[in-house]
């Protein structure tokens, strides 16, 4: 009942007019950026990071969470009407939903996606509510060795999950760890990599890096890419609601999608891609109309969309309880914690109950807002699809520049912003994920601290990380995550034997 009492307090926080307003702004903005192809929640939250200098933490996190959930809703609209999945998690929605729209069932597809998202996100948020406390209690028993091992696991999962290959993710991660070194060395007081600039003595601000990589870098890359939008936007011709039969065919996939999405999203290596595909194949197997799949089956929209939203709630579990980001958006939210001087981790729930429970409560409220906002207004959102990209990206660049300038009024920060933006462009051109850089920058110093603490406890004995069972397990998991995919490929190649070279 402890959890319920705290949740009630959270609602007291979230229901204040100011916070309700933040939630409304968040879900509206989130839906808008979710609808716009090429702009995701990570970019939007990065753009708004300068807010952390002026607005209180609870309000900002309610805003960010609203954007995060809203973008999930908006993304499905784009997938269905435009057949352009905004991210890998909505590929399946684009697959079936766009086919439905082609057959004049766009309204039904949008409705099942929106209602399914509502059901799944609510189930996911309930899961988050009740899972958070036990995990934190477990994590509070962690010593420095276990905590360091957990950080290593986080580094590895973020690198392995978010990129094309683990080694690319690791390269990005180490770049981030390196950026974290800039500034005065905490132990010896020596300046490192400051190029004689006094502005750099305090280190590079992680907000400048996040905005540079995700707003400037992403915009430059989008402008550089040749592929432009196809004007194949479908319009909604039928009513945005479900028929009796649609309800009957949708409600089970919603529940099954949520059941798949939430636990996988909560796992450190989960992500949103696996659960959506898993849900799609499950629905295809269970459906009484398997022949409709590939031609616009409503189950193929309902299930994966639910899985996607439930996993989005799941991602918040490791993020709020352990301080581990498992998606790009979570990584950027983590940098917001740092900007407030709040250390993410197991202590967060005890130190900042107002923030965490207010945030969780606002997720319930935001979900209801999203349902109301999305069903009747979907035609309006579809209009946003027609903004010419150069204008949109110019707007983003201006907003990023003014935000950073307004926050610090420092030319060095502006220079850094664009330098890092160019680095972000180059990383995208060469297919490196950007999120591990942020994770490395934020978690790197914490990991180093825990590492030194653990060695102090063990009096310099490095085996402490392997003799403690929990830390050994976590490290073993990290090794498996890195080593398993290449090993698996090797095994397959060996099994395939002489066939492979002949194919080449």
């Amino acid at each position: 009942m402890d959890t319920l009492a705290q949740l009630a307090q959270g609602f007291a926080v979230a229901l204040t007019p100011v916070n309700l307003l933040w939630a409304l702004v968040g879900v509206t903005l989130g839906t808008a950026v979710g609808v716009l192809p090429g702009v995701g929640p990570a970019l939007t939250i990065a753009l708004l990071l300068p807010l952390t200098y002026k607005v209180d933490a609870t309000g900002v996190f309610i805003l960010f969470a609203g954007i995060y959930y809203g973008a999930m809703y908006g993304g499905s609209t784009t997938s269905i009407l435009l057949n352009t999945p905004g991210e890998s998690a909505t590929i399946v929605t684009a697959l079936e939903g766009h086919k439905m729209a082609r057959r004049g069932r766009a309204g039904a597809a949008l409705a099942t996606a929106a209602i399914g998202s509502f059901v799944a996100a609510t189930i996911g948020t309930i899961g988050l509510t009740f899972v958070a406390k036990p995990i934190v209690e477990l994590a509070l028993k962690f010593g420095p060795a276990e905590y360091f091992a957990l950080m290593v696991l986080a580094f590895v999962t973020v690198s392995a999950v978010l990129g094309r290959s683990a080694i690319r993710g690791l390269a990005s991660l180490f770049l981030g760890l390196f950026l974290g070194l800039v500034g005065m060395d905490t132990l010896t007081g020596q300046p490192r990599f400051t190029f004689g600039l006094p502005e750099l003595l305090d280190g590079i601000n992680v907000i400048v890096v996040a905005v540079g990589l995700f707003a400037v870098g992403e915009s430059l890359h989008a402008l550089w890419k040749r592929s432009s939008l196809t004007s194949d936007t479908l319009t909604v011709t039928d009513s945005v609601w479900l028929t009796r039969q649609d309800w009957q065919r949708s409600w089970k996939p919603w529940l099954r999608g949520s059941a798949i999405g939430f636990p996988i999203g909560a796992l450190p290596a989960g992500g949103a891609e696996i659960p959506t595909f898993a849900s799609y194949y499950l629905e295809k197997k269970l459906s009484r109309h398997p022949e409709e799949f590939g031609h616009g089956a409503i189950e193929g929209v309902a299930g994966p969309e639910a899985a996607n939203n439930a996993s989005a709630a799941g991602v918040l579990v490791p993020m709020l309880t352990l301080g581990l980001p498992t998606s790009a958006t979570a990584a950027i939210m983590l940098s917001a914690f740092q900007s407030y001087g709040i250390q993410p981790g197991p202590l967060l729930l005890d130190n900042q109950p107002q923030l965490v429970w207010g945030l969780i409560a606002s997720l319930y409220i935001g979900n209801i807002m999203l349902l109301v906002l999305n069903l009747p207004l979907v035609g309006l959102w579809a209009k946003a699809l027609t903004i010419p990209p150069p204008l949109m990206y110019a707007g983003i660049l201006v907003f990023a520049t003014v935000g950073i300038w307004g926050a610090s009024q420092s030319w060095v920060d502006l220079l850094l912003l664009y330098t890092i933006g160019v680095v972000g462009l180059v990383m995208r051109l060469f297919d490196f994920p950007a999120a591990p850089v942020i994770v490395g920058m934020v978690l790197g110093p914490i990991a180093e601290q825990e590492f030194r603490r653990a060695l102090t406890v063990s009096q310099g004995d490095l085996t402490i990380f392997l003799t403690k069972p929990l830390s050994a397990t976590l490290l073993a998991l990290a090794v498996i995550l890195i080593a398993a995919p290449p090993a698996w490929r090797l095994v397959r190649r060996l099994r395939a034997g002489p066939v492979q070279p002949a194919l080449r």
Binding site: P50, L51, Y53, K54, V55, I167, R168, L170, A171, F174, L175, L177, F178, L181, D185, L187, T188, Q190, R192, F193, S219, L220, L223, W224, K225, R226, S228, T386, I387, P388, P389, P390, L391, M392, Y393, A394, G395, L397, V398, F399, T401, V402, G403, G406, V426, L429, F430, D431, F432, E448, G460
Partner: protein
């Protein structure tokens, strides 16, 4: 300042990778591998690592038990060179695709628009600066639609003024001629 086997080892790895890429210019059958996205990416990270080793060379190394300020930077530098070398090596062993070709016009005009923002902002304030930016950025589009430009302009002005001037109370003039 720099000494030690490790440093020179890292330099040799970088030099070999770079020379391999240069040598491939003369050998057409190698060109596709060496100028692939992956090979160049590996080279890039080797360069990052070497740069870090070079700049951080003056920092005292210390020992594993008593780390000096240069210990971790050097470790990370070596790891970056190593990872870069692995990426390049993998690329040279396999078929891969070249880097994306892009569009120059929006790529150059939109940052130019931001530059216009900075200049006009200093001369006349926030609102004229936003107008200048959007006008320049419009030229970067494939087909120019002035109606959409007007809508985007209004939206961006409202957003920037609302957020920066009123929500954040930043000291910036909305409209003020300084010439």
């Amino acid at each position: 300042v720099q000494s030690g086997l490790w440093f020179w080892g890292a330099n040799v790895i970088g030099a070999v990778s770079a020379l391999a890429a240069l040598a491939a210019i003369a050998m057409p059958h190698l060109r596709r591998r060496m100028f692939s996205q992956d090979y160049l990416a590996g080279l890039l990270f080797q360069a990052f690592g070497l740069l870090a080793l070079w700049i951080g060379g003056a920092l005292a190394l210390g020992t594993a038990v008593r780390m000096g300020p240069g210990y971790v930077p050097r470790l990370l530098g070596f790891i970056l060179v190593g990872l870069g070398a692995v990426i390049s090596f993998q690329a040279a062993m396999a078929e891969s695709v070249g880097p994306e070709r892009g569009k120059w016009r929006p790529f150059l005009l939109v940052p130019a628009a931001v530059l216009a923002f900075a200049i006009v902002f200093n001369l006349a304030g926030l609102i004229p600066a936003i107008i200048a930016t959007i006008l320049v950025a419009t030229l970067g589009g494939d087909d120019i639609k002035w109606g959409q430009t007007a809508i985007s302009l209004t939206f961006l002005i409202l957003l920037c003024v609302g957020v920066f001037k009123y929500a954040l109370n930043l000291p910036m003039p909305l409209f003020e001629l300084k010439v």
